[in-house]
Amino acid sequence: MSVTTEQVETRVVETLASFGPDQSQITRDATFEELDIDSLDLVELAQVVEDEYGVVLKGEDMKELKTVGDAIDLIVARAG
């Protein structure tokens, strides 16, 4: 399975944007706190990621994530 960082980034940004924040704010460096993305949103993101890439993200994985970039990198690493 080959997933590019760009593909994951597109999917993550699109998913996060559907939760409320403006798409333009969702950069790699943006923190979930700044975007008002909370633990429930991250569980929803994890469901999308699992559906799409077969990557299972548990609660403890999510706790470590601070920025959008952190999430993208973790998903790409696990998918690879």
């Binding site: 559907s18 939760f19 409320g20 429930l40 469901q47």
Partner: protein
């Protein structure tokens, strides 16, 4: 009956509504009084309510429709109370009680479908926070930083009225200085409609015509009604505009049948008597009754019997009308929505008619205000007194007494 002990008085300083007649408490009452119907194709949906016009993407997707409507109605009530910017009380002294018959029915149904189609792991983590019956209460407390007592109330079609009664007691007893209270319901789903249809509760004709000989069931509605209650002295001290007083609350139970009302109206009449005693008022002082008036055979007969038992001969002298004739039955929201309509009646001095009542039932011989709106007439220059009745599947009876502000 003994007089109640001295208690703190409770006034209404704000009202808000989302109903099948549109957005706003004034809209509800004005359109009802003008004879407009919020019913089409046998359903009373809030067609003018679009959550995205009032809430951000994040707010809207985190609330089931019943909570969305409650939040929007609460914003209206809170704005009218003049609480915008800052709440004029210690937040720990402000409560919130929002009722619903069911809660987030649309969420429950959509997530069950997700589970059937895509498995348990696909069920949304937002499922519980959206469908729990206290979700509307929680949303309003978070939005306005209300930190006193808060909870939801469930008693089918008396839910909204019970919420107001609970809020009244909370302030009277001194547990809060102000409470945001009301009810909300949004269960116009295929399943919700099927359930009521199956029990033959809904009008086959799709017409809400309370007290009419041809009445054949209620019309399902949805909506929200919210009131801001404040302790009278505190409200006056801050210069609030007082819309009226929530003067009395009476509640009893039929203990008769799970859906049918007790036909003599005995326990329901007792609820009326208790509300009047609570308000320190005599039956002869009642100027108007906002009836539960569902347009079912059983309710309208039992309610008529209850009003006669409680008010005696005076029952024949006063106007009684049903808001459900215009907006159908908003179920768990009804008690609160109709309390808003009752308050607007006291504020405007205009009584909305019982729409659709054209063929009188010879068994039901009170003045149900058929045809057109009419002025509210008050005896002896005292502030007007109105009752709002609510009765429910489960046998719950709730009556609220509102006194108009002195003019």
């Amino acid at each position: 009956m003994t007089q109640p002990p001295h208690r703190r008085r409770v006034v209404v300083t704000g009202v808000g509504a989302v109903t099948p007649l549109g957005l706003g408490a004034a809209t509800l009452h004005d359109r009802w009084a003008a004879g407009e119907l919020g019913i089409s194709d046998g359903l009373a949906a809030c067609q003018e309510f679009e959550a995205s016009e009032h809430l951000s993407v994040k707010e809207a997707r985190r609330l089931d429709r019943f909570s969305q409507m409650a939040v929007v109605a609460a914003d209206e009530a809170i704005a009218q109370a003049g609480w915008v910017g800052e709440i004029p009380y210690d937040p720990l002294r402000v409560g919130c009680v929002i009722a619903t018959g069911i809660g987030g029915q649309q969420t429950i149904e959509s997530q069950i479908l997700v589970m059937k189609e895509r498995g348990a792991k696909a069920v949304s983590p937002l499922g519980i926070p959206l469908y729990m019956p206290n979700a509307a209460t929680a949303a309003i407390t978070i939005r306005h930083s209300l930190r006193g007592q808060s909870y939801g109330v469930v008693s089918a079609c008396t839910s909204g009225a019970h919420a107001l009664g609970s809020a009244l007691r909370m302030i009277q007893y001194g547990d809060a200085d102000a409470v945001v209270c009301g009810g909300a319901e949004a269960s116009l789903t295929d399943f919700g409609i099927a359930c009521f249809t199956s029990m033959q509760a809904l009008s086959q004709a799709g017409v809400s015509r309370p007290f009419d000989l041809r009445r054949d069931g209620f019309v399902m509605g949805e909506g929200a009604g919210i009131l801001v209650l404040e302790e009278e002295e505190a409200a006056r001290a801050r210069g609030a505009e007082i819309l009226g007083e929530l003067a009395g609350f009476g509640s009893t139970t039929d203990a008769h049948h799970i859906t049918a009302p007790e036909p003599s109206g005995g326990p329901a009449s007792r609820a009326i008597e208790l509300a009047l005693r609570d308000a320190g008022a005599a039956p002869e002082q009642v100027d108007y009754v906002n009836a539960h008036g569902t347009s079912t055979q059983l309710n309208d007969a039992a309610e008529t019997a209850a009003i006669k038992r409680a008010l005696g001969e005076h029952a024949r002298r006063i106007p009684i009308s049903s808001t459900k004739s215009a907006i159908g039955h908003t179920l768990g929201a009804a008690g609160a929505v109709e309390a808003v309509a009752t308050l607007r009646t006291l504020v405007t001095g205009v009584i909305g008619p019982t729409l659709g009542l054209e063929v009188p039932d010879p068994e039901l011989d009170l003045d149900y205000v058929p045809g057109e709106a009419r002025p509210l007439v008050t005896g002896n220059g005292r502030p007007p007194l109105a009752l709002s009745n609510s009765f429910a599947f489960g046998g719950h009876n709730v009556v609220l007494a509102f006194r108009g502000a002195a003019r």
